[in-house]
Amino acid sequence: MSNTVLKVTVWRGAQEGEFVEYLVPRNPNQTVLDVVTYIQRKLDPTLSYRFACRVGMCGSCAMTVDGVARWTCRTHVSQIVKGDSLEIAPLNNLPVIKDLATDMREFFNKWKGAVGFFKGDKSRYDDFVKVEPQSTERKLADAGIECIGCAVCYASCEVVASRPNYLGPAALNRAWTLTNDVRDVQQLDRLRAVAGDEGCHACHSHGSCTERCPKKLEPTAGISGLKKLVARAAVRGSKWGKL
């Protein structure tokens, strides 16, 4: 392995544009984020991209690397490079603002659309709600709550690509964790939100979300849980009321 230069093709433009090739010196401990940063600082200052923590905590640096959505700060070039080439593009399924930066609004709007937010009915004057950490519901919720909204799963999902209104794995996973939150008071609204035509039943368990999640979360599991909950609610009614 005596290549000293990487041939990196990077998407430039927005919805329309082109791939432009840059030559980047190769280092032993290089991440893809290092590569993008080098291009912007040394070769072409007009390149737009996002990053923040650069240590795999924030999810801002997610991009499509050789066709696969990844966190670029956690992707070592040596592990994925093909020969001496690399292809870097913005995340799929999201509108491109410029170059490698995408418009995340629809991703977060769908989170809201799935009622992926908490609402309780206690105030600071009430006693704490006691939630048993080892209870079935809490363990199910805990399995999915580490999501940081990086959109890698959303960008990997073929159903999102083919159904623009599909809520997507992240939103549905968050909704699932909240259906298992005994303190939340919006469960019926939430069930209705994820039952819609573009809700959980549009998922065909391709598993790309689970395969690609950098935090090893499993939206497929959460969505399967929602499918059962919603189906039972549709047929027999749920513990929170009729659908």
Binding site: S162, R163, D197, A202, A231, A234, L243
Partner: protein, 120 residues
């Protein structure tokens, strides 16, 4: 809102029906595969088939359940494929209903056929 919700309820019921029929089919297909392998030894003739099925009420019931499960399972699957790759419109729904009708009618006819052996 009411219409959106009824769509959601419909999707949920279709999903449920397809999975329940899938469970029934899991059993039926497993048994059917065993029957196939048993029956094809040394070739398969009409005499042999009818020899086993004619007058056999157990076979008739088994295969009619099989037909009914297919009648639920396959059209829903086809509808999903058509709606995802073409439009949600009239043709997708129409083809699914057509498949449902073909399975129910031809399938039940087949069950009656092999049960009666032509003697109705």
């Amino acid at each position: 809102m009411g219409q959106v919700m009824s769509q959601g309820v419909l999707q949920a019921k279709l999903w449920y029906a397809q999975r329940i029929s899938a469970m029934v089919l899991g059993l039926c297909v497993s048994i059917h595969l065993i029957i196939i392998f048993y029956a094809i030894r040394g070739g398969l003739s009409a005499e042999e088939i009818l020899g086993r099925t004619q007058g056999n009420i157990a076979f008739a019931l088994f295969y009619e359940i099989f037909v009914l499960a297919c009648f639920v399972h396959a059209p829903i699957g086809l509808a999903n494929i058509l709606q995802e790759n073409f439009s949600k419109g009239f043709i997708s729904q129409g083809l699914s209903w057509l498949l449902a009708a073909l399975i129910l009618i031809l399938g039940s006819t087949a069950v009656i056929g092999v049960y009666s052996g032509g003697n109705i």
